[in-house]
């Protein structure tokens, strides 16, 4: 598929973009030098290389450990959920909460509760867990039913089906999970370095450089972070490519049979849901008990309720919270939809013309790991402090995960499906409409579920650092006033908002399945 001609095209396009960057930098075309010339960034990076090493090594270690631990837990959890679907129902609340937590909101909490290095690794692992878990579970479940029949025909049970068929069939999906997880681990490590007062790490380095207003240094740190994530992403992408070719079904599989999960009575279903909702709060309470922290700093679930409804500060807290929510929620939903649309268009583009896609991918990757906090000051210089900057940042955090999933969905479509419509002289557009889009519908919803809470994170970071509105700003102010009640309240409320949005996409998926 990948011909020499294509490779040349990719290289030419890449070169063109780099030249455009260099020229724009030299002539100070973008927001009066906010985008320095590539040569200037690299020269500075080279000159300061001895300053970089300890920071790079520190971030490499925490993000690497977080990546490994988070992925191990994620794959193990997906295997358990696949064998024992009730386990997924029970832990659904924990899963969604672990995923929806805007990392920026819990950095202060983690730093209070855990030892420095452990806090950073924990945040990296936390950000890795959900994308890998969902991708793995989707891969384990999306299996050719004929292969499962064969295992059953020889008396194999669920475990044999898992070991002999599902696990191997899920490898490309697991790899696509790793691709999303690699930049997430770096982002987690760097975000946690901000609040932790660590001596080394790219986050610390970035924080120290923020005030100096030197775009070339900020970009240099961003590139270093990108390089770390890029190595992880590249290895996973390579593995995904290598395994996908062998996984493509030889013929078009019939759709999997109706869900085989046994009919659960209504009261049992309600009980499961209730436990799923309560478990995260139970974990939260137990974590605080184990950490033996002061109830003034570390609020329990009841402590947050007390603060929000029964204390002297309640009326003021409620009105501030509602005001913040009314500013944050609409723009989150809007940003999510645009981000998803961008991802879908990019995935289509990569499907139609791999040349363009391979040239754009490195830049897409930069927006992922170029930590938002480094990106935001630059984005503010370019886009101002209005709604545009929030949207730009939100889109840039949402589209990447969605794009990787959608591209994977397109790649898994069996070739004979395309050969068939090709035989009738289908145009690329028709191939998209008849085959690619219907076949990737499931992935579109998985992508939406991934994007929703990320959109909230993007909006909150932009609010915190740029626009001074909404939940993000409220959290920032509360940190300044040491208003622990509000810090915990915002963390909880932002998770609840994210869960509500997540459920919304889930319901939408259910409705379209009818």
């Amino acid at each position: 598929m990948k011909s020499r001609h294509d490779t040349l095209g990719t290289a030419a396009l890449l070169l063109l973009i780099l030249i455009a960057w260099e020229v724009a930098g030299q002539l100070r075309l973008v927001a009066d030098g906010t985008l320095p010339a590539l040569s200037a960034i690299l020269t500075r990076l080279f000159a300061e290389r001895s300053d970089y090493w300890p920071h790079i090594l520190a971030t490499l270690e925490t993000s690497g450990l977080g990546f490994i631990i988070g992925n191990l837990i994620a794959v193990a959890a997906a295997l358990v959920f696949c064998l024992w679907p009730i386990g997924e129902r029970l832990l659904r609340g924990v899963n969604i909460a672990a995923f929806a937590v805007p990392p920026i909101a819990i950095v202060p909490v983690l730093v209070i509760a855990l030892d420095g290095d452990v806090a950073r690794i924990t945040l990296a692992a936390l950000l890795v867990y959900f994308p890998t878990m969902t991708a793995t579970l989707a891969g384990l479940r999306e299996v050719d039913p004929r292969s499962l029949d064969l295992v059953s025909a020889y008396g194999g049970g669920k475990l044999k089906a898992l070991l002999l068929v599902r696990l191997r069939a899920a490898v490309p999906a697991i790899m696509s999970g790793f691709q999303v997880a690699a930049p997430a681990a770096v982002l987690g490590a760097i975000l946690a370095e901000f609040g932790s007062g660590a001596r080394w790490g790219l986050g610390t380095f970035l924080l120290g450089s923020l005030g100096r207003g030197e775009p070339d240094r900020l970009w240099g740190i961003g590139l270093a972070a990108t390089a770390i994530a890029g190595v992880g992403y590249g290895l996973a992408a390579l593995a995904a490519q290598w395994t996908t070719g062998r996984n493509r079904a030889v013929t078009i599989a019939p759709p999997p049979s109706e869900s085989t999960s046994p009919q659960v009575e209504r009261w049992r279903r309600s009980l499961l849901t209730l436990i799923a909702v309560l478990l995260p709060f139970l974990f939260w309470q137990m974590l605080l008990l184990a950490g033996d922290l002061s109830p003034i700093i570390a609020k329990t679930p009841l402590g947050v309720l007390d603060y929000l409804f029964f204390s002297n500060a309640s009326p003021s807290a409620q009105s501030r919270l509602l005001q913040a929510l009314s500013e944050t929620i609409p723009i989150t939903i809007g940003g999510m939809f645009i981000g998803l649309a961008v991802a879908f268009l990019l995935a289509l583009l990569s499907f139609a013309t791999p040349v363009v896609m391979r040239a754009l991918l490195p830049f897409a990757l930069v927006t992922q790991t170029m930590p938002l906090v480094a990106l935001t000051p630059l984005a503010v210089l370019i886009f101002g402090r209005g709604i545009t900057v929030t949207l730009v940042i939100t889109i840039s955090v949402t589209f990447f995960a969605a794009f990787v999933l959608l591209a994977q969905g397109f790649a898994l479509i069996p070739r004979p499906a395309f050969d068939l419509v090709d035989a009738y002289g289908a145009s690329t557009l028709q191939k998209l409409r008849l085959i690619a889009i219907p076949a990737s519908r499931k992935w579109l919803f998985v992508a939406a579920r991934l994007a929703m809470p990320k959109a909230l994170l993007g909006v909150m970071i932009a609010e915190w650092l740029a626009t001074g509105k909404g939940l993000g700003n409220l959290l920032n102010q509360s940190r300044g006033y040491l208003d622990y009640g509000m810090i915990w309240t915002v963390a909880v409320v932002s998770v609840l908002v994210a869960i509500a949005l997540y459920q919304l996409t889930y319901t939408a998926e259910r409705l379209t399945e009818r």
């Binding site: 194999g156 002999l164 068929v165 191997r168």
Partner: protein, 260 residues
């Protein structure tokens, strides 16, 4: 090892698809004695494949009993007594030919056979030289032959085949028919063969069952009188053709209309 008897007694099966009930069998009874070879003919969609899936307990019957030997299919299949070749080859795309044939042993958890046994099966279905090829590198007919080799690999006492030769050309099909007869004569597994080819059914089986359209009933149960081993010349025998025509008549559309 003698073939195990396979019996369906008063089997009922109804599918519910989008709220619509689709009755496939109402009280179907079919008895295949140990070591017999039964071919199953019938119009498309009458439930032939469902019968095979019931015999493997991939579907469960709503009523009636299905026994392999004196066990339920779900128990029998765990002993490795049952071999199956599905209509679709159902090969694992990431495994090569050899490893696909080895799959049943891994599922059953039994010791893998010595390589010579697998090599013999691969030669039998004419795939020598393709041992290390993956399914995507094979033609449709070659994939089906891998599935046939796999169904024979465990030396089953009950062999279930769902149009295993459907994707083969006529010459290869004849050749595979000869081979299947030879293998079957040596080991005598109780065989249930679903096919669309009347001549294939008559050539291979002791007994040909013709099913009606849904809900499927046994329209005809014909004993095939030809002595074994049956030489290829039988295919040109006038008596053979007479029998084929007779059976073919049951499959004519008018027949089904008068039935319905």
């Amino acid at each position: 090892m003698q073939g195990l008897p396979l019996s369906f007694v008063d089997v009922e099966k109804t599918f519910h698809i989008k709220g619509q009930a689709l009755t496939v069998f109402e009280q179907l009874t079919l008895d295949c004695p140990g070591g017999s070879f039964t071919a199953l003919l019938g119009p498309s969609g009458c439930g032939k494949s469902t019968l095979l899936r019931l015999a493997l307990e991939l579907e469960t019957a709503d009523a009636g009993s299905i026994l392999v030997g004196d066990e339920r299919p779900s128990a029998a299949r765990k002993t490795g007594a049952v071999g199956v070749a599905f209509q679709d080859a159902a090969l694992l795309p990431w495994r090569n030919v050899e490893d696909n044939i080895l799959l049943p042993f891994q599922v059953l958890g039994t010791k893998p056979p010595d390589p010579e046994h697998i090599g013999k099966l691969i030669r039998l279905v004419g795939l020598e030289g393709f041992e290390k090829a993956r399914p995507e590198e094979l033609s449709g007919g070659m994939r089906q032959r891998v599935a046939i080799a796999r169904s024979l690999a465990t030396e089953p006492r009950v062999l279930l085949m769902d149009e295993p030769f459907g994707a083969l050309d006529l010459i290869l099909r004849r050749q595979m028919n000869l081979e299947l007869q030879r293998i079957w004569s040596a080991a005598r597994p109780t065989t249930l063969l679903i096919t669309h080819g009347v001549d294939e059914a008559v050539y291979l089986a002791d007994r040909v069952i013709v099913l009606s359209a849904r809900p499927a009933e046994i329209l005809a149960d014909i004993t095939i009188p030809f002595a074994r081993p049956r030489a290829p010349e039988l295919l040109r025998d006038p008596q053979f053709h007479k029998l084929c025509d007779e059976i073919g008549a049951y499959l004519e559309p008018q027949q089904n209309q008068t039935e319905a």
